[in-house]
């Protein structure tokens, strides 16, 4: 089992959601987050005052999936989240030790 986490641009959320649904992902966790990567922050002037834009708004989503689905899911997120510009985000995959479905008590693969 793997946990796929992706941090993407907010406006790409709708595209990514559709791509994941098409790929057969039925559930995920989504959050509004802020952060920065290689682009770092930048300074902007707004209404006459300088603003340090150090944190950029992003969407973070997490999907727990079977090992064999990893390639397809990562590819689906990658293709749908890409604009080719700086700040498109990251996807990472981490191993999952165990999963429990709270309602039924199902374990691991059965709980995905």
């Amino acid at each position: 089992m793997k946990l796929v986490t992706a941090v993407i641009k907010p406006h790409k959320w709708e595209d990514v959601r559709q791509a994941l649904e098409t790929a057969g992902v039925s559930g995920m966790t989504v959050g509004e987050v802020s952060g920065y990567g290689r682009q770092k922050g930048h300074t902007e002037v707004y209404r006459g005052a300088e603003y340090e834009i150090s944190l950029v708004p992003k969407i973070r989503l997490e999907v727990a999936i079977d090992d064999e689905d990893v390639e397809a899911i990562v590819a689906a997120i990658e293709a749908s989240a890409q604009t080719g510009r700086i700040g498109d985000g990251k996807i990472w995959v981490s191993p999952l030790e165990s999963v429990v479905r709270v309602r039924t008590g199902d374990r691991d693969e059965a709980a995905l």
Partner: protein, 735 residues
């Protein structure tokens, strides 16, 4: 489900209780079984508790009665809430807890010694009245805490008809307030609303099958059937309207309580009402805005707006009787509205928190439909989206309150406030609400007498009020096409600033989540990018170069001051040999004479300084103005001490626009419109030896929007350092 059924339930419970009392051979003297709370008021709902007390005189031995009497009541399946107390114990319990005290106000005889019940009742009421001044603040704190915890009946998605603000508990509290004899509230209205809400609760409990007072979303259609209303929407409007009315009465009553509590116990001053004049025809009396003797509603169509604005700006109640009288007697506003009416409406909308209660009074008394009949479209309309905290009408008022905090960020506060008022006016139909709202907004703005370009701007803002928020969350901000879409739709930096402010106000009024730092970050970022794309110079009024005839007999040491009447005010023209500080002296002259400046144009004409002032006073004597001017120039009057800046809620905005002109430095000032504001700016500039070459002064609602073209006394634009120095001095002078 009616009052009759509640009475029938109460009779049945009474029969049960009194037969239990008789069966246990309860005595006729010294002991009584009494009903308290809702049972005491004979208002039992289908699943209400039976709240009873077995009360006895001190020294009376109850024997087994105290334990035996409850068994038949328990056996009957009733939810029983019972206690046994002596009369002094009851007095002590009421003394210790205001909730017990208010529950005992409704004590009612059921069985036993009627004289004892009567004594209990009289003692309780007397004690309630005696301790009211200490008690009421406690009651109020408890109510406010409950409101904070539960929310408003009128706006909650799952309202609780008992505990919510505007619910049954508030209505009962109101009865308690009236019982103190300190203040009064409109009885009939309160009682009608209370009975109507009791009907609702009966149906809700019937549907829920238990003692629940919460209306879950799926309950509305059945509730409509139970209340004999057309559909679920009608049921929502019905319940929420009652909630709103009780909330309104509650706030009114508490304001009156505040008024009474803040007055000393034994007034040394005469008891005649003291009227503090606030505006022509409008005065403040005992914390409420009323009409004074000079008021002439029949010939003063603006009086309603003037009274409402005065109340909102002072954050006090517009007396409902006054509002009702104005609705009856006030002449209708001519179309298009006179300038004063428009100006007052903007000030009303921008008055901040004070707007809420005044707006509710205007709504309750139907005064609102007099000048904004379109309001009916959104009244008590529930929102389709669950993210909204409030119904559409309340959301609009909240948007105005939020927008009033942002007026310093825009050059057209009047356009912002009216757009905030009208942004959701298209809701409630099948067409997308911003599309449906545009023509309505255009019609309303036209009726209000706005200039054609302002009408376009208002209509445009209503049409596109969702543009920033939706584009920022669904389009790529790094894509030039996204920025171009926003920039080209809005067209000018001015329109974009207005849209940014409207978007922020709209989101904040929707829910805290709608303006989280995350969402705000996205929206502000897009707005900033679009602004950068549009910022090719700000459109400012040009340097004025009119030619007026200088009077031939004007000698270098003298001034020419002339006054001519214009509709709703006067135009004052001043001409004098130009010098640094001349404009400051004229501004001080008008401010000292309490002449309200609406707008002004100032320019240099050869060696003369000319200023034309549009003022709101109808009879201005040039001779008196001249005396004031001479006193100022001669150093006999010191305006600086008279017009020290007040503590304004919003800081002034002072911005240098280096790109706007080559011959002069442009300084844009936005500040609260108060007497002496022009003087404070001009005198600060004069102290720096900076000359005002030309100026455009305007008052838009509560905000003065002034543009000054500055030059060094020796001619030429200000250097960057000097310009910053001037801006700093002006900012300091205003805050």
């Amino acid at each position: 489900m009616t009052a009759d059924e509640r009475a029938a339930r109460t009779r049945a419970a009474d029969d049960l209780c009194s037969s239990a009392y008789t069966d246990c051979s309860g005595p006729d003297n010294g002991v009584a079984l009494v009903a308290v709370g809702g049972y005491g008021r004979a208002e039992l709902a289908p699943h209400s508790d039976l709240d009873v007390v077995l009360v006895h005189d001190e020294g009376v031995d109850l024997g087994e009665l105290a334990t035996k009497i409850w068994y038949p009541l328990w056996d009957s399946g009733s939810q029983l809430d019972h206690s046994v107390r002596s009369l002094p114990e009851m007095v002590a319990a009421a003394d210790a807890d205001h909730r017990v005290a208010s529950g005992l106000l409704d004590v009612r005889h059921v069985a036993g010694d009627p004289n004892l019940t009567l004594r209990l009742r009289t003692t309780m009421l007397a004690q309630w009245r005696k301790g009211a001044r200490e008690r009421l603040p406690e009651v109020r704190t408890a109510s406010l805490n409950r409101h904070r915890l539960i929310g408003e009946l009128a706006h909650l998605s799952v309202p609780d008809v008992k505990e919510a603000e505007g619910g049954l508990r508030d209505a009962t509290t109101l009865r308690g307030i009236v019982a103190t004899w300190l203040v009064d509230v409109p009885h009939t209205e309160l009682e009608q609303s209370r009975q109507a809400l009791l009907d609702v609760r009966d149906v809700v409990q019937g549907l829920a099958g238990r003692a629940s007072d919460r209306i879950s979303p799926e309950m509305w259609p059945d509730l409509a059937v139970g209340l004999d209303l057309a559909d679920d929407r009608a049921a929502q409007v019905h319940v929420r309207e009652i909630g709103r009315r009780i909330t309104h009465l509650s706030r009114l009553a508490w304001r009156r309580v505040d008024g009474v509590l803040s007055r000393p116990l034994s007034p040394k001053t005469p008891r005649r009402p003291v009227l503090e004049p606030l505006a022509p025809g409008v005065a403040l009396s005992a914390g409420e805005v009323v009409l004074d003797r000079k008021a002439d509603p029949e010939h003063d169509p603006v009086l309603l707006l003037r009274a409402a604005t005065a109340a909102a700006e002072h954050n006090v109640v517009l007396a409902p009787a006054t509002a009702a009288r104005l609705v009856r007697e006030c002449a209708p506003l001519p179309e298009p509205w006179p300038e004063e009416a428009r100006h007052l409406l903007v000030r009303l909308l921008a008055s901040g928190r004070g707007l809420l209660e005044v707006w509710e009074t205007l709504e309750e008394t139907e005064a609102l439909t007099r000048f904004l009949p379109e309001w009916e479209r959104v009244r008590l309309l529930p929102h389709a989206s669950v993210i909204h905290r409030f119904t559409v009408d309340r959301h609009v008022v909240e948007t105005c309150i939020e927008a009033s905090e942002l007026i310093r960020t825009v050059a057209r506060p009047d356009v912002l406030m009216v757009a905030a008022l009208l942004h959701d006016i298209g809701k409630g139909g099948l067409t997308e609400h911003s599309v449906a709202g545009e023509p309505i907004a255009r019609e309303v703005a036209t009726r209000m007498g706005f200039e054609p370009d302002s009408i376009d701007l208002i209509a445009h803002l209503v049409r596109w009020h969702l543009l920033l928020a939706t584009t920022a969350t669904t389009r790529d901000p790094d894509d030039p096409a996204t920025v171009d879409l926003v920039a080209s739709t809005m067209g000018t930096p001015e329109a974009l600033s207005l849209l940014s402010a409207l978007t922020e106000a709209d989101a904040k009024a929707t829910a805290p989540k709608a303006w989280s730092s995350w969402r705000a970050g996205l929206i502000v970022d897009l707005s900033r990018r679009a602004r950068a794309a549009l910022d090719t110079g700000v459109a400012l009024p040009p340097i004025t170069t009119d030619e007026l005839t200088v009077p031939e007999d004007l000698n270098p040491a003298s001034v020419s001051i002339s006054v001519e009447p214009v509709p709703d005010g006067s135009r004052i023209t001043t001409i004098a040999l130009d010098r640094v500080g001349l404009l400051a002296d004229f501004a001080a002259m008008l401010a000292l004479q309490r002449v309200p400046v609406r707008a002004a144009r100032v320019w240099a004409q050869g060696e003369y300084g000319v200023s034309v002032w549009e003022v709101g006073a109808e009879s201005v004597d040039p001779a008196i103005l001249r005396t004031k001017y001479d006193a100022i120039v001669g150093g006999r009057a010191d305006p600086l001490t008279r017009f020290a800046p007040g503590a304004d809620a919003l800081a002034p905005t002072v911005v240098v626009r280096p790109e706007a002109s080559e011959q002069a430095t442009v300084l844009e000032v936005r500040a609260a419109d108060r007497p002496g504001v022009v003087y404070l700016v001009c005198s600060a500039l004069a102290r720096l030896d900076v000359a005002v070459r030309s100026a455009h002064l305007d008052t838009l609602g509560p905000q003065a929007v002034d543009v000054f073209y500055l030059q060094e006394a020796s001619a030429g634009a200000l250097s960057e350092t000097r310009a910053a120095e001037a801006a700093h001095a002006v900012r300091a002078a205003l805050s």
